[in-house]
Symmetry: C2
Subunit: 138 residues, 2 copies
């Protein structure tokens, strides 16, 4: 079969009506992918790649993120085993976040993609320009 890396038609053929919910479950790697590549996911992974840090420090590194979103993102990544959370029951509370070894691997691949994209921005920008021009700016 020509099923790509991402399961697409696989579940369609198997399931039937799946409103896109079923296939998300059938393809857990997609979930993780989105945790990693999502808005705050990629920024968080990027920030954590510079070294472990605490919650509010992370908020500063990823600035623009709300507490809620950072917390949420962190939990998702922690649940996926990408991020490790170390809470010390001291007072005041101190919690450090860091990438797990798996997280580092993921970060590297992700960054590879991102770097490639960044290196390709001239092409992308050119493409965008001609696209916009062709269609009159819209």
């Amino acid at each position: 079969m020509e099923t790509p890396a991402i399961c697409t038609e696989a579940e369609q053929a198997a399931g039937s009506d799946l409103p896109f919910d079923a296939f998300a479950r059938a393809c857990p790697s997609r979930e993780t992918l989105e945790h990693v590549t999502g808005r705050w996911g990629s920024l968080t992974v990027g920030a954590l790649r510079e070294g472990p840090c605490r919650f509010n420090e992370l908020r500063r590194r990823v600035e623009g993120v709300s507490e809620k979103m950072l917390s949420q993102t962190l939990h998702a990544l922690e649940r996926d085993g990408i991020v490790n959370r170390e809470a010390q029951p001291t007072n005041p509370p101190r919690v450090d976040y860091e990438l797990t070894p798996l997280g580092v691997e993921v970060a590297n691949r992700l960054l590879a993609l991102i770097h490639f994209l960044e290196g390709s921005m001239p092409q992308v920008l050119t493409a965008r320009a001609s696209y916009d021009e062709t269609r009159g700016g819209r």
Copy 2:
């Protein structure tokens, strides 16, 4: 500076108040990244990697996607120079989509990440299990 691949604090330091809108613009590669990794983006790129195809054929390959979303995704990818659109003014109209050389490169990196993630699913699943167990299923 230790600015990561993804521009995070860079613009913060430079700009100032950016409500996450400014930095999205300051960091066009992030935009493209999300086009590629997004819900339909990754599926579309994956589908197109199997070879060029027409709109409705694509809809079938990526099934679950609505016309609107496919169209939208395709336009975003086309604008970024990831996808090439070839319209033939015949009747009935025939339009073929295919990955550009750049698109193929991007697809390869993306798939590398995805494949790694898929290969790591046992770890991820294990991590998820212990996370869920620890917190009582929530």
